[in-house]
Symmetry: C2
Subunit: 194 residues, 2 copies
């Protein structure tokens, strides 16, 4: 069992509706030691890939992207949700639907920060249905950028996102894959990793 | 001139409406070397303070909070905007108005992550009118937490937020204070720092 899996078992809380609360260490309060470990683990798993930029989506991906940027020594870019007067019109744009928030939103990335020369590692905290990731992949395709890999903290293995992403031919490294969980008993079952 | 000021002069863009775009390195694309420098600079400026937690607000504060957490070796907490089904009802809550987005929003922090034993460094990317900071201070007051200091990347010295915060007796360290800027000429004037 790896460090993230240990933390999920110790501090994660399973709630009804397939919700796994990890806000004590991953997406509300952030444990810096755990972030460092995750960044280093992605660095190890994607060794040899010519990654020159980390891409994520606000808000909870940002901490992970900075932790990865620390290890890869490259800039991080986070896609923004909705429109801001601080963003110029010249953006890549995709529509995504959030499983957690049950709404649709636009995500945008300025064209100045992604292009055909970029080799990206995409990171995010959760992969469930994969909607957010599909939006980021759509933006990467618009930019002509190469997706070298996708690093996820927690994949819900009982939802289709992981399989969809792997079927697309993307190299996906989820640091913890939850194959089953129960709000009644609190039990969490991880997929064994090599 | 410090490293952040140099980067603002080199890559910042002044737009009409008192907007300073720093999205190439601070709040859309994140330069990891600059983040590290800012974290280390806050660590130096707040040396000796018994800081046990970093507090910020999503989304653009998160990168800075992680950079500060790296230096202080403490957890970071980010206040969330709006309500999410992943947040329990037991939260501190404040209303803030955004200068950039020209709207009002609720910010919330789970009561599990802030309390009377906490000694906080609050960080954010911009301080203009101070509305976001006032919301975070309101949340700290509800929690009974001690605010040891406030670390800002860029303070707009020609707007009232900095003075309001200092008048409240808070120790405020802005790494760059812009006293004047012009969208017509692109000129940016920094307040001298010791």
């Amino acid at each position: 069992m790896n460090y993230l899996e240990e933390r999920i078992l110790a501090e994660g809380i399973v709630k009804p509706g397939n919700v796994l609360k990890v806000d004590a260490f991953l997406n509300h309060q952030l444990d810096i030691g755990l972030l460092r470990w995750m960044g280093a683990e992605w660095k190890r798993r994607f060794a040899g890939r010519p990654i020159n930029k980390i891409l994520t989506i606000e808000a909870s991906g940002i901490g992970l992207a900075v932790a990865a940027a620390e290890q890869f020594e490259v800039p991080a870019v986070f896609a923004k949700k909705g429109e801001s007067i601080n963003i110029d019109g010249d953006v890549y744009r995709a529509e995504i639907e959030s499983f957690t928030r049950q709404n649709k939103s636009q995500v945008i990335v300025s064209k100045r920060f992604l292009g055909p020369d970029d080799h990206l590692l995409i990171v995010d905290d959760f992969l469930a249905n994969g909607c957010a990731l599909q939006g980021l992949l759509a933006i990467c395709a618009q930019a002509g950028a190469t997706v070298e890999g996708i690093g996820i903290a927690i994949e819900k293995g009982f939802q289709p996102g992981g399989q969809i992403i792997r079927n697309l031919g993307c190299r996906l490294e989820s640091l913890a894959i939850v194959d089953a969980m129960s709000a009644e008993t609190g039990r969490i079952v991880f997929r064994p990793q090599g």
